[in-house]
């Protein structure tokens, strides 16, 4: 029997050796491939919670997202994420939940969580010196005063919409607010059940609080698109100036149709002579004038100009992904006239609205908008910092200056559509363009109000784009919000 027992012992030995080899393979060699399996939530957790997550701060060093030790005694996750300003900065920070992230939390996740390979050397030094490793701090370009003004103005208006402010000379995003918003703090809970409940509530909310309208919402630009149309016209006709007389009929019969394009209330434009200076037609936002100009310059020129202003770009990231603003070449000349005044299928994001003015303000050069100023490791050394870059040059500086003058007239000329709040700006010259876009089938919905502007006129420091859904008349609903952002930002300078 001992011979058989010896053989059984060898069989047992083989069984244990097989187990040992297998666990060595599993835990020694297969760890990386298992960690990269898509459904491996442990790897996700580990990456998220290995180190204290870095903070997100504004350009003026206001903390808008940070981590603190978890309060719950049984909490399996060491750090609790919190957002001191809640909904105000939600479009910027996004959220960081047990399972996923959005916004800067997602775009800079590797650096915030401390797992990005660019932090490896610093982590190694931390390991040697015995310091606890922290994720990197991300500084965004947002100015806290401008952001507060933007969000508070939106919230005071109570209508869904968004505001984006850009520094025209660099492309820094100074404010980015969306309303209604949500508090990312409630999504930072470590209680999975509660998270699902809150998440479902937010998803079911008809007012779409999770939607970052500033980057993801697209709306008809309405008359603000006349900046593009004018730019195309002035570029195509080098001899013309803003004082050139252009056709300005009371009614424009659209080619190949019996449809008639009219001005806002069917009124005659400027003085009813059928001719008007371009600047006056722009200031009073004559649809007939710009419909005709659109027919004359043609859809492909409008398309090229719109693209140069940043539209039709599916890949724009700041580093958050930005929805594509569309100028679709219309199938007929009649629809081209509509597209020239920001109707037909034109859609823009609030960011794009700000980019229209930013390009004009910066002498025709459109800087690439960006949100992340710099990333600082826990040892205060800079990991990355963003240098401004040119996105496009839609117009020459001459044309930009001309369009700028026209935008100033919108606000300063007594007949301009934005004149009504000129007095409220207290010494700051604002140049802008209002837009009131018809929405819904047969113009049944409330108009979307749009406004794009820059200030100060002589030395532009800020360009603002505002879109208010169902806001009605652009000058009334959107422009005052832009003025408040400008005042907050310039008053802070």
């Amino acid at each position: 029997m001992n011979r058989a027992l010896r053989r059984i012992s060898i069989a047992v030995l083989v069984m244990f050796v097989l187990l040992l080899i297998n666990v060595n393979y599993l835990q020694g060699f297969e760890t990386a491939s298992l960690a990269s399996e898509p459904g491996n939530s442990r790897a996700f957790y580990a990456a998220q919670n290995q180190y204290e997550r870095g903070s997100i701060i504004t350009s003026d060093n206001v903390t808008i997202a940070a981590s603190k030790p978890s309060a719950g005694a049984n909490d399996s996750i060491k750090y609790q994420r919190y957002y001191p300003y809640g909904p105000e900065y939600a479009p910027v920070t996004g959220y960081d939940t047990l399972y996923s992230q959005t916004g800067i939390e997602a775009a800079e996740n590797g650096l915030l969580s401390g797992n990005d390979s660019s932090l490896d050397v610093r982590k190694f030094i931390d390991l040697i010196t015995g310091k606890s490793t922290k994720g990197a701090t991300v500084q965004v370009t947002i100015n806290s005063k401008a952001q507060a003004a933007a969000y508070n103005a939106l919230a005071a208006g109570g209508k869904p919409g968004a505001v984006v402010a850009i520094d025209p000379s660099t492309g820094k995003i100074l404010a980015m607010a969306s309303y209604p918003s949500y508090n990312p703090g409630v999504l930072a809970t470590h209680d999975g059940k509660q998270l699902v409940t809150v998440d479902n509530q937010l998803l079911a909310d008809k007012s779409q609080p999770l939607l970052n309208r500033a980057l993801e919402g697209t709306y008809p630009p309405g008359s603000t698109f006349k900046i593009v149309t004018s730019s195309a016209f002035l570029t195509q006709n080098p001899g013309t100036t803003i004082n050139t007389n252009v056709a300005s009929p009371t009614q424009l019969t659209l080619p190949q149709t019996t449809n008639v394009l009219t001005n806002n209330d069917g009124e005659s434009c400027v003085n009813g002579t059928g001719q008007a200076q371009l600047i006056m037609a722009f200031a009073q936002s004559c649809n007939t004038t710009f419909g005709k100009i659109g027919e004359d310059v043609g859809a492909s020129a409008l398309d090229a100009m719109a693209t140069n202003f940043g539209m039709n770009n599916p890949n724009l990231t700041i580093p958050l992904a930005v929805a594509q603003s569309n100028y679709l070449i219309p199938p007929s000349l009649a629809l081209t006239a509509y597209s020239a005044i920001g109707q037909y299928n034109d859609t823009v994001t609030p960011l794009q609205e700000a980019m229209f003015s930013a390009a004009i303000a910066n002498g025709g050069t459109l800087m690439k908008p960006y949100l992340v100023q710099q990333v600082t490791a826990s040892d205060l050394s800079t990991v990355t910092s963003t240098t401004p870059s040119v996105l496009h040059q839609p117009v020459s500086s001459t044309v930009a200056a001309e369009v700028g003058k026209m935008m100033l007239a919108v606000v300063q000329d007594p007949t301009g559509t934005g004149y009504q709040f000129n007095a409220s700006v207290e010494g700051v010259q604002i140049a802008g363009k209002t837009g009131t876009a018809e929405t819904g089938v047969g113009n049944s919905g409330l108009d979307d109000a749009a406004f794009t502007c820059f200030a100060p006129y002589a030395n532009p420091k800020i360009a603002v784009g505002v879109i208010i859904q169902g806001g009605g008349y652009g000058a009334a609903a959107a422009a005052p919000i832009a003025v408040q952002v400008i005042k907050a930002y310039l008053g802070n300078q």
Partner: protein, 476 residues
């Protein structure tokens, strides 16, 4: 002090396996202190990792654990003084680690559910079952003073074993079903017993008794075909019966793991008894054919194979293979040195407290810890097999070999399953899994091995006649 008279050597030079006259109970006690220290460190590790302090109740839990294990040690001194000194410390260490893991799982909330994977009372219950298990351990040592006594109950224990195995299949699913397998008997909602844990032991004893009686005929009679000694058809009865029962287990209880352990146990004992390879081949072929047929007939079994072969394919990771895959992720995240007790996320894996407890150890103690645990099991098996070699009487030999092999097979089936060496089947991990039946059954197994090793290592009574002739001088 030197002496011209040669002392009795500590080890008989003619039989190096035969130890001399030292009971080694003090070695056992020292080894137990190591086991206690390891369990204390593990406990403290959990507490400091999860809460930054020693866990509340450390003194009570650890004190109770130490007391019951010391009771076992005293029982060894009293009833089995010559037993192998490693069996008790190794088993106690595993038992203690299991208690620590219950504490660890109960002390941390799974964020997805808002609750810990086991209730906070699981630690206390596991200690209570350890006490019951050690009570049975002491009872077996006290009642079974000579292993051969068990041979008398060959058929009684066989009948009890088969009845215990069959009981869950006969009972309605509401009483016996758990996670798709009919393997338990529920007395109300609180107490459930898994009869297979005891059936295995009864059957191991029964097989040993039967095979000792029949081994000559099973070993010698038969014809030689193609170099293999085939048994006579009339001698095939028992193996066919066992095969049939194991297949019924498969089909009616969907319990492929126990079925494999059961069949493997019988075939191994048959081989030890007869030394005939043909029995091994026959048993192996019968099991594979039966399992294959069952996998075609019973969806549960076929699914197990699919999970094993394609855990990451299609919807498997989120559905059928979720448990296996999460266990693998856990062990992978542990890597070489583990996340440390309390540092991982074992709660993500379903049933981590029972079938997949080894993945929790892999995750938190890493490859190093998992290998150590496997080596502890290996050592227990090795001590058992060594006992089988040492012991003289064939029944004891068979029983020791069978029990040791069964333990090895059980570890192989569950650890191999969890680490995806073989298809995962739900059986308990001896000493580590949550659950009283398994713990009590494992302690009875250790008691039987201790009794057998006590018999094996007990020095033969000194002949009075020789005493007058040889002067025995013990140094020191």
């Amino acid at each position: 002090m030197s002496s011209i008279t040669a002392p009795t050597p500590a080890v008989d030079p003619d039989n190096p396996l035969m130890p001399g006259g030292r009971s080694r109970r003090r070695t056992e006690l020292i080894m137990l202190v190591f086991a206690f220290a390891l369990v204390l460190f593990a406990f403290a590790n959990v507490g400091f990792s999860l809460k930054g302090t020693l866990p509340s109740g450390t003194a009570e839990y650890l004190g109770a654990f130490i007391v019951i294990v010391l009771v076992a040690h005293l029982a060894m001194r009293r009833f089995a003084p010559w037993a192998d000194p490693l069996l008790l410390p190794l088993a106690a260490l595993l038992n203690g680690l299991g208690i620590v893991m219950m504490y660890r799982l109960g002390a941390q909330v799974n964020p997805a559910t808002g609750n810990p994977e086991v209730s906070a009372s699981a630690t206390g219950i596991q200690i209570l079952f350890s006490a019951i298990g050690i009570g049975c351990f002491v009872a077996v040592l006290a009642l079974v003073r000579e292993p051969r006594v068990l041979q008398r109950y060959t058929y009684t224990l066989g009948a009890i074993g088969i009845l215990l195995l069959a009981l869950p299949a006969l009972l309605p699913g509401s009483i016996s079903e758990v996670n798709g397998a009919k393997i338990q008997i529920a007395f109300g909602s609180l107490i459930t017993v898994q009869p297979e844990e005891f059936a295995k032991l009864a059957l191991a004893i029964s097989f040993a008794g039967y095979l000792v009686a029949k081994r000559d005929v099973l070993a010698l009679a038969g014809r030689r075909v193609l170099g293999i000694d085939l048994p006579r058809a009339r001698d095939l009865g028992p193996i066919v019966l066992v095969w049939a029962v194991s297949l019924l287990l498969l089909v009616f209880e969907s319990d492929i793991g126990t079925s494999a352990v059961f069949m493997g146990l019988f075939v191994a004992m048959l081989y030890i008894a007869t030394s005939r390879t043909s029995w091994l081949l026959l048993g192996f072929i019968m099991f594979v054919v039966g399992a294959f047929a069952a996998s075609k007939l019973v969806g549960h079994v076929g699914e197990r194979f699919d999970i094993w072969l394609h855990p990451f394919v299609g919807s498997n990771p989120e559905n059928n293979a979720f448990q296996l895959v999460q266990g693998l992720y856990g062990m992978a995240s542990g890597g070489l040195l583990g996340k440390g007790l309390g540092g991982g996320q074992p709660y993500i894996t379903p049933l981590v407290q029972s079938d997949l407890v080894i993945s929790a150890f892999g995750e938190e103690l890493g490859l190093a810890g998992l290998m150590a645990i496997l080596l502890i099991y290996g050592l227990i098996v090795q001590r058992g097999l060594r006992t089988a070699m040492l012991v003289k009487d064939p029944f004891s030999k068979l029983l020791a070999g069978g029990l040791s092999f069964m333990l090895a097979l059980q570890v192989f089936v569950i650890v191999g399953g969890v680490t995806r060496l073989i298809p995962l089947t739900g059986i308990t991990t001896p000493f580590l899994s949550q659950g009283g039946s398994s713990l009590v059954g494992s302690w009875i197994l250790i008691a039987l091995l201790a009794r057998l090793s006590d018999t094996a290592r007990r020095p033969p009574p000194r002949s009075i006649q020789e005493e007058g002739l040889t002067q025995v001088v013990t140094l020191k």
